[in-house]
Amino acid sequence: MTHLVVLDNEAVQALSHPAHKKHVRVMSHIQVVVAGRRSRSLPVTVVVPTTVRVEAGWDRSVPAWAFLNRLLIGDVALDGSTANLAASILADARVSVADAHIGAVIQSAAATKVTVITSDPGDIRRVAADKEVHVVTI
């Protein structure tokens, strides 16, 4: 079983700022993922769609983002086919580009389980359409 954990903009913001009111909450999820990988070698991967990174202002080349870079949170790029899918989602669900990209990641994921950590569960369920997604609301 493979498990993909996707962060939305607020999850990124909360993780990056220790003073953010939801910092401990998102840190808890990251700590659980790390503990699972450490003790049981669970194939859990935490990713961020690149448009979410843009929205959050996460520039990997800037030292201020070193903490998140070091947590090995992978990028999911908006390539041509993902952009097509995201454009279709955006038109149908009337969401932001970043949320449409999250929808494209959910709909095209090969992982057996997809979890999105988000402050907007309604939008995430809409962009997931028929694809099963596990939503953690922060």
């Binding site: 498990h3 954990v5 220790p18 910092h23 401990v24 909450r25 840190m27 808890s28 999820h29 990251i30 700590q31 659980v32 993922v33 790390v34 503990a35 990988r37 450490r38 070698s41 194939p43 903490f67 870079n69 070091r70 947590l71 090995l72 979890t115 596990h134 953690v136």
Partner: protein
């Protein structure tokens, strides 16, 4: 112009095989950054190593590859396991460093149990108060308890509740 002897002293010995970064002390985050750099670099280059592993472990891996299809080869299995372990160690070192800098950012056992329930889709995920109460009860008797212990206790309490 430098005398020949001085040039000889300045030039690094050609026979050195250990890189300077390896020989010199690093702090934990420097080590983390170097490990990440290596993990993200070209994995196409391979090396023979003199690493010794228990024979029984090697044989068990060979059977797992051949009979269970867990990986394309024992080498692939070993490399994947090593990579996963290194990634987990890096992430834990980063979290430990973060908690040293910001102790208030460290989640409690209750926070971790709630997060574990949410990520696993546990039946009690929607009842954080029940999980936090269970965490308090478990932690009072077992200070080293894990989030899974809390969830088991919370579930047992939920079943026995009127």
């Amino acid at each position: 112009m430098l005398p020949a002897l001085a040039v000889k002293l300045i030039k690094p010995p050609k026979a050195r095989t250990t890189q300077a970064w390896y020989a010199s002390p690093m702090d934990a985050m420097q080590a983390v950054d170097r490990i990440i750099e290596l993990l993200e670099s070209d994995m196409g280059q391979t090396s023979n190593t003199s690493m010794r592993i228990p024979t029984a472990l090697r044989d068990a891996a060979a059977i797992a590859v051949r009979e269970l299809g867990v990986a394309a080869s024992t080498t692939a299995l070993t490399a994947a396991a090593l990579r996963a372990r290194l990634e987990a160690a890096v992430m834990q070192a980063v979290l430990d460093d973060h908690f040293r800098q910001y102790p208030e950012a460290r989640p409690s056992l209750g926070d971790l149990a709630v997060a574990a329930a949410e990520l696993d889709g546990h039946p009690l995920a929607g009842e954080p108060a029940r999980i936090r109460q269970a965490a308090l009860e478990v932690a009072s008797r077992h200070p080293d308890a894990e989030p899974e212990d809390v969830l088991l206790w919370a579930e047992a309490r939920a079943i026995s509740a009127p």
